[in-house]
Symmetry: C2
Subunit: 273 residues, 2 copies
Amino acid sequence: MKFIERLRLAWMAQQSLLCVGLDPDPAKLPRHLAGAKHPIFAFGRAIVDATADLVCAFKPQIAYYAAARAEDQLEMTIAHIRRHHPTIPVILDAKRGDVGSTAQMYAQEAFERYQADAVTVNPYLGFDSLAPFLEYADKGVIVLCRTSNPGARDLQDLAIGGRTLYQLVAEKAVREWNANANVLLVVGATYPQELGEIRAIVGDMPILVPGVGAQGGDVAAVLANGATADGTGLVISSSRAVLYAGSGGDYAQAARAAALKLRDEINASRKVR
Amino acid sequence: MKFIERLRLAWMAQQSLLCVGLDPDPAKLPRHLAGAKHPIFAFGRAIVDATADLVCAFKPQIAYYAAARAEDQLEMTIAHIRRHHPTIPVILDAKRGDVGSTAQMYAQEAFERYQADAVTVNPYLGFDSLAPFLEYADKGVIVLCRTSNPGARDLQDLAIGGRTLYQLVAEKAVREWNANANVLLVVGATYPQELGEIRAIVGDMPILVPGVGAQGGDVAAVLANGATADGTGLVISSSRAVLYAGSGGDYAQAARAAALKLRDEINASRKVR
């Protein structure tokens, strides 16, 4: 099944547009996990199991595992999701981008080694840097468009013949890069107006929206500007606000409570037009 | 010592602008290494030891190690260079780019876990995505500007108020991002004219130039357009043309011969103005 179909099924079956991002910062893990053999995996597994019925996707961020020399625990985390929550797609947040021969290796890393269902990629190197990912027709390729950070404006907002660079990336994504119908975009929740502009360009293409929660994005504005006519089209990702909702022995329950609140807040803002 | 000083010392002491890129594709390794416990490390070590007196830097490409589940062999390779060839800087080619909190983790991966002297980064997310790298003042931060691949033109050549996006990245690199004097740029050898434009913008800032060899970049044109007045300023990287010059038991000698030829070809084109 193609990634976008899997995602649509998850939206429907779970009645949720929420994605929980797994950014396991070793400095923030609950203290009682310190003695565990695989503390990052133990943390991720507990978060996953506590929130799986509330989400449409999980999004592990590879940098946190790589900094901690814990690629094995990333493998274990994704394998756990695939075995115990097989209907929930896994987005590997890696933001890869390189020339073709190297991009091929990164695609292998994401889709074969880690068995991710989708991966985030950076468009700065152009089409041939995306092609090795796009050729995995059943996998999702989620292209950075307008990111959630303040510096996003440095390049992405530059004006090119009356349009911005991020609008042009959205146009290329929908018109030139989507032959396998497996492209999605990343647009930060912190920029709802830009999200609306991009939605107008890309039709029903799903959009991954990080930046609610710790980064301050407004849920109602995200839904109003980014949802498709059927009230879906968005994968709204929260990491820190869910992961670190609690820090004691009840951290998983605290994460569940935070995820439940956010899912409900999102659903309350969904309007099927 | 700051990275750029280390690089200048290597240019002088080695009388070389050549960088050997370590892109160890498991499918191309010499067959007799197949039984080794750490074949990718054994290959990289042999290449490093055979070429260390000919180069100003080594540039391992992390994607090849990650695809092969061989981060440990990347650690071993860099540790080997640092121990046995301590004057040769190590550039980790990773092309990272993410929001600040995640970029912090990627900086930790490159500089603390792998102990690289410099890392390549992608500018699409803007200044705050680069800042966590730039704060390591003694490390080099090598920003993608005009890459060597055909798709580079898709975004990097777009016209913004009479300039191109890559020119604007070069301007930001030299004027806004270089407070710690640790920024370098990546410009592909396959685009010597663009290299000349960028050199005019950035003064003496060192430029990493991949794309000679297998990608077809012309050495004389690279030197004519990219060198600084003292005949340096460039880190000219070749990977496949050196690594896979031979495939039998003499692969390291074949790599040395290819590196020697390329170093001499570069030196023959250097003109101190």
